[in-house]
Symmetry: D2
Subunit: 261 residues, 4 copies
């Protein structure tokens, strides 16, 4: 098995900010992909905002099993067309893992239907992540808690729909809490949001973070064939009803006619 994975990076601060460039000389996306490739099940490549079609052509998405998304400063620069393309891939069965400031990405808000807002503070404070769902596959090999000594704070209320499962909850030194690992299913696609990952700290070099991301890719992967038209709403003609019925009463549509959308 080989899970075809793309790590998408905005790649803005990586280029413009010296602190970020020192931590991630080849960009955050490259560091994340290298961590994933330590898992023999995973075959991770990268794509960035600046690539043609942001590196997310239909052809490439069709072959992708799991997509990770990191963005922050340039959410607005992501093309709506690409966002819809990615959304359809997820609805058809591609896994999606949204990282940190990706909570405000177009694709995450598109699939959640909510603001995905929160409170925040950039002070390099201590974050401690607690496992709420023991032995969830995403926290395989992770102890009941682990720490990131320097992180940005995100605080509740987090404007998301109630998750399928709340896997991780963070404690912050300054007094806040946050649901830091939450799962969803959207159409046939598994979605995981994972909070840590501010670009001025070495979060993606942390072993526990690397382990969680590898686990998350394995969890999000769905080996079943992609659903080709996840938006289809097929008419079932009366003559093909599974139980014999006789049409009756007034109607709007001719048999087999497309419905309104």
């Amino acid at each position: 098995m080989s899970i075809k994975t793309i790590v998408w990076g905005e790649n803005v601060h990586d280029q413009e900010n010296q602190v970020v460039a020192d931590l991630y000389p080849k960009g955050m996306h490259t560091c994340i992909a290298a961590g994933l490739n330590l898992d023999e099940n995973i075959e991770a490549s990268t794509a960035v905002l600046q690539d043609p079609e942001h590196g997310l052509s239909q052809e490439r998405l069709d072959k992708t099993d799991v997509l990770l998304w990191w963005g922050h400063a340039a959410h607005g620069d992501v093309s709506d067309e690409v966002v819809e393309r990615v959304a359809n891939a997820v609805l058809g069965g591609m896994g999606l893992i949204v990282l940190h400031s990706g909570h405000f990405s177009k694709i995450f808000k598109r699939l959640m239907g909510t603001p995905c807002n929160l409170t925040w503070r950039e002070a390099g404070e201590r974050e401690r992540l607690w496992v709420a769902s023991r032995n969830h596959p995403i926290v395989k090999g992770i102890p009941d808690h682990f720490e990131l000594e320097f992180e940005e704070m995100y605080g509740e209320p987090f404007g998301i729909p109630e998750p399928l499962e709340t896997v991780l909850i963070s404690w912050f030194q300054g007094g806040e809490v946050f649901r830091s690992g939450v799962t969803y299913k959207r159409g046939a696609g598994n979605v995981f949001y994972f909070r840590p990952g501010h670009e001025t700290y070495p979060t993606y070099h942390d072993d526990n973070v690397k382990t969680i991301l590898k686990n998350a890719v394995n969890w999000a992967y769905n080996e079943q064939p992609r659903i080709l038209d996840p938006n289809d709403a097929p008419n079932v003609p009366v003559t093909e009803a599974l139980e014999p019925i006789v049409e009756r009463g007034p109607k709007l549509h001719a048999d087999g006619e497309a419905g309104f959308k």
Copy 2:
């Protein structure tokens, strides 16, 4: 108490189709609103697609507790600006009840983040709705099952997120099933989808349907003040942290500066 309620109707077939006009001489929305007004807690008025701003000005929404939405043929004619306005009202605490073919309305797809697709057949077949969540407030006064002799079929798979609660499940004569009553919370707003209501049948004259709609309005109503900016993501300055912390490490943002969106 008086729950300020708007029944929004597309009002297209009501005008153009003689069958619909005969069943609902003043439009479906008017019939639905009249049913709601039998509940002394509810004060229901109507709005239609053809009104200025579709009858959903900011000023009117600000005073509205619960909105019901029926649309079918003209989802595409609803202005995106009004959809976002309604979405923000829901996220801030307004209740939303989506009816029948409203599964494909812009507002429902916007808040669910999924295709909301299904299979369908217009054959005037029998639908039987079963209560899956006993004594849920939305089914108060409803027996364990009830029938609609003539209805359009909607079949699974229904392209929605896993609901908070699956309250009603339908059986169809032609062999399909459907999750016909499902609840969600989006931001501070309660959302209920209710399946029946094809315009060529007398569904909104049915007593059980009327009871469910009245119950749903009472359930969706949230008496708490509307959240004015449900999309806000406030920065918490280090000096205002709830626990004393000292800023450390490199950072991107100046104190109190707005975050990226």
Copy 3:
């Protein structure tokens, strides 16, 4: 409307421990009930472990809308028969609010099906509760966060089923987090677990706690008639099938015969 409410107290430390007796001279249950009675919708009385049938006779439960449960040292002394009686009342529609150390009560473990275990520390540390579900009726009038200066710590992982909604999450001074307000439905009954309330601290004198408990009683109340036999599994004779069917194939049971249990 008047919501008939019982506050059940174990009433052990209240009698034996001077600290608790000083904080709650008439017992914790009496203090909690007095707080609830400030709400004109609520009519709260008390019951204690030492009463005949623990104060929870079938006759009294039949007239009770909502039960609050505080126990700690004497969970094992609660009669299994009374636990089943209370469980059946909840399954039939009575609301249940489980307080603090009640996480280990027989009734809570009985209805959750899980260990309901946690980590803990009694050090009088600061707890800060954060609202995760904005405008949930249980947090009406509560700001986004509030503090209890002295509390026992409970930490994740909390051994509960995934809740319907996670309403409140706690931050603790010593570094832990906890899902402090969670909702469930069991049969027709609404269940809320609320974490704070260690007996050596003045938690039930706190205004925010009083508000949450009043809200929780109103939320848990179900005005519909109690389901009399919530465990019934009725046979539907072939002759009474809703759609005409013809019996066929081999069978184990004679028509109308009781099923196995």
Copy 4:
């Protein structure tokens, strides 16, 4: 990988009823296990009520990854001690798949906390199962619907907690619907209930049923080490708090002392 699996069968009707014996000459459990062993990932054996300790000794459970449970006439003959042993194995991470009339088994009711009741009719009617969660791993290879020509009817309301995911919903010829495939997590253990399987019909010879059971075992399997004491509630001494705190206020417990249970 080899998923150690036990198929537990009550093995009563298999012995006493000629119809059942003809369909399943070596017992239902043996037929089910043979179907599972077609999957190279699965290594399935059997256990029956009549075995010492019902074939479920602690030693054997310790080595078991997934347990399937079929019982009907003799739920009451299962020892409470073995039920608790199985419950603890599930809470510690063993997968559990409950089949058909197992809805009324002690172990399922123990883990759900609810009556798990339903309506029923034994008439050999047609059942059609619909997929509600597309591409869920449990329905891999299953079309959007499939039929069992002869089955017992189970009808809503089904007295279960709201599932994590509703994967399958059944349509019955006589007019009922039922949530036929539902998932839960209890402690660290994955739980799946699957409805079909009345002993007088050839259900476990059906290819779609076999596929679903194989998928369910793979889904329920958790490769992580078993949690040895899933009921433990450890005290965290003040001196070992993750953040430095000073003990203050009155207390009930001496440091490191066991809590009440």
